[in-house]
């Protein structure tokens, strides 16, 4: 029986074996020790037809529950334009290799150049690379870069208000790299700038990483931080949600040297966590230490405008163990997605996305407070994500939401819960969140009446 992806007929195989001077396919492995050749049966399924595969995926798909997403925490349910999905399905983009052969890769190189330009515009920085794996790894790379730019320094500072997964990934990387790392706990829901500045006095710090919008959804006020970091001859990196940068103060405007973060918020579907893409932007003076691929403009032999991967002397295939980073690929196709997305949205569309998210989030915020079941955790400005103190037990609140097909009230420690609203959420869905909270309250009261819970329960106070 043939197989759709193996084009060789028996006759072809015979002819090729003859030319190769081999008697059989097995003899092509005569240089492999006999005891290493696998003779058993592989414990994987029998081949399926496309029809069977479709059925299997329909079945697998039915085991997932499509929920209304009121959670952010580093992955956002923003609107995905049909044209962006369509463009990344173009086979000439989808099935092409890394654009090392510039002459036949101008399509990829041009969109990377456009991507770099757009990310620089959003972050207010001078330049960008062609993308990184995801937000948390871009933060780790930013810190490695800070050390490379400050040469001998080997300590970094992270704000405790960064998303937990960002802290964890940076900690993992730095731990193995032999770098001193201090997480400075947040204060009143924001980065503790005074403590960070105190730590900087020791002058051994290479880089400082703080969020633009933090894990509680708060838009941080980073006034004065850049000056303090620069006085200590360190680099400031701001971890940002690029979608928000259409309306909030940019890393460039805060005086940052590096901007990193997760660009999934630019319309990429949630997709159970990937593929997404990270970004890393910097000021001009640091560009030769920027990790990853970078496209640049030049001319060809005829003087025509052309694009190439450039500044390659930074990269692993040339520097080997002395490279800025071990990164080899980028999330190229996702960079294309983001480029098409930003082209379609333009400044007005991105502002509209933020207006709708802001409006919806502030509406949910006030309606939840009106129930009396929540109090504001920090009372600080937010965009689309906010954190409340819940008087309802967090697990029961989450369950009531799930019963209505809603994923929200993500636990942020103790009685803190966060919600996120994007333009994909409707007024009706927001109403359902409030209803679920009220229902949860009712359910708890019922348990108290039915003696399942103590009448001293906090909810009655």
């Amino acid at each position: 029986m043939g197989f759709a992806y193996f084009p060789h007929t028996d006759e072809d195989i015979r002819a090729m074996l003859d030319k190769a001077g081999a008697v059989s396919l097995d003899s092509l492995y005569s240089d492999v020790p006999e005891d290493v050749l696998f003779k058993g049966e592989f414990d994987i399924p029998d081949a399926m037809t496309e029809m069977e595969i479709r059925r299997r995926f329909a079945d697998l798909s039915s085991k997932n529950r499509k929920l209304k997403i009121f959670c952010g925490a580093g992955a956002y349910d923003h609107y995905s334009p049909a044209a962006a999905l369509s463009m990344i399905s173009r086979p000439e983009f989808l099935t092409s290799y890394t654009p090392y052969q510039a002459e036949v890769s101008q399509g990829t190189l041009r969109y990377i150049f456009e991507f770099q330009t757009m990310m620089s515009m959003l972050t207010g920085m001078d330049c960008s690379n062609a993308s990184m794996y995801d937000g948390p790894t871009s933060a780790a790379e930013a810190m490695l870069m800070a050390m490379s730019c400050t040469r001998k320094k080997k300590r970094i500072l992270l704000s405790g208000t960064l998303l937990p997964q960002v802290l964890q990934v940076v900690e993992t990387y730095m731990g193995f790299h032999g770098v001193g790392l201090d997480v400075i706990p947040g204060k009143d829901g924001e980065s503790d700038l005074a403590s960070i500045c105190r730590e900087l006095r020791s002058e051994d710090v290479a880089g400082v990483l703080v969020p633009g919008i933090n894990r509680y959804g708060i838009i941080e006020d980073l006034s004065g931080l850049a000056d303090a970091v620069h006085d200590a001859k360190a680099l400031l990196a701001v971890y940002s949600d690029p979608s928000s940068l259409a309306v909030i103060r940019t890393p460039g405007e805060w005086g940052a040297d590096l901007a990193c973060g997760e660009a999934q918020s630019l319309g990429i579907p949630l997709n159970a966590g990937g593929p997404y893409l990270g970004f890393l932007c910097c000021r001009q003076e640091f560009v030769r230490k920027l990790p990853g691929r970078i496209a640049g403009e030049t001319v060809d032999a005829d003087g025509k405008k052309a694009y190439v991967l450039t500044l390659q002397a930074r990269e692993q295939h040339i520097r080997r163990e002395k490279a800025t980073s071990n990164i080899c690929s980028n999330q190229s196709l996702m960079a294309l997605y983001v480029t098409v997305y930003l082209s379609l949205m333009g400044p007005q569309g991105l502002r509209r996305v933020n207006d709708l998210s802001y409006g919806g989030a502030h509406s949910l915020h006030s309606r939840l407070l009106e129930t009396g079941l929540f109090t504001d955790a920090f009372g600080k400005p937010f965009l689309k994500e906010f954190t409340l103190r819940s008087r309802l037990p967090v697990d029961r609140l989450q369950k009531s939401l799930l019963d209505k097909g809603i994923f929200g009230a993500l636990s942020c420690g103790e009685d803190l819960v966060s919600f996120c609203v994007t333009e994909n959420r409707t007024e009706e869905e927001i109403e359902q969140v409030v209803d679920a909270a009220l229902f949860c309250h009712l359910d708890i009261c019922r348990d108290i009446v039915n003696d399942k819970l103590s009448p001293d329960h906090e909810i009655l106070r």
């Binding site: 030769r288 500044l311 390659q312 002397a313 930074r314 040339i318 520097r319 002395k322």
Partner: protein
């Protein structure tokens, strides 16, 4: 054949040193620039940075290669050649005019460990 100039000191990593009133002017040799190809960037230390003999003080980069620079002598950087920022190709066109850094030496005796032009010529002959 690579060009070698009399009166300079040379290191095995192909840097040259010219002494000017106790100041070491440092660059890369003609052999080094030829083996690099078109130089596109020179990574140089800043004024007041310390450099130590046989330790990295920067790098030269071409399109497809990068080569670290090793200090032939120890001391304090007084100046780096700002001209190379705009025109790194100077190192290809005239490697002995295109100096990279000037160093106030902390131990002038270190030059005795470097080669003179004849020794360097012999060293290159063995390499080639």
């Amino acid at each position: 054949m690579s060009k070698i100039i009399d009166g300079l000191f040379y290191s095995e990593s192909h840097e040259w040193v010219k002494l000017e009133d106790g100041i070491a002017v440092i660059g890369i040799t003609d052999f080094a620039q030829k083996s690099m190809g078109s130089i596109v960037y020179v990574d140089m230390p800043d004024e007041d940075d310390e450099v130590s003999r046989n330790e990295e003080f920067g790098a030269v980069e071409s399109v497809k290669a990068a080569s670290d620079l090793y200090a032939p002598v120890s001391g304090t950087v007084m100046e780096h050649n700002g001209e190379l920022e705009d025109d790194p190709g100077l190192l290809n066109r005239d490697p002995y005019a295109g100096w990279i850094i000037k160093v106030r030496m902390s131990d002038p005796a270190e030059t005795s460990e470097l080669m003179d032009s004849a020794a360097y010529a012999e060293f290159l002959a063995r390499q080639e």
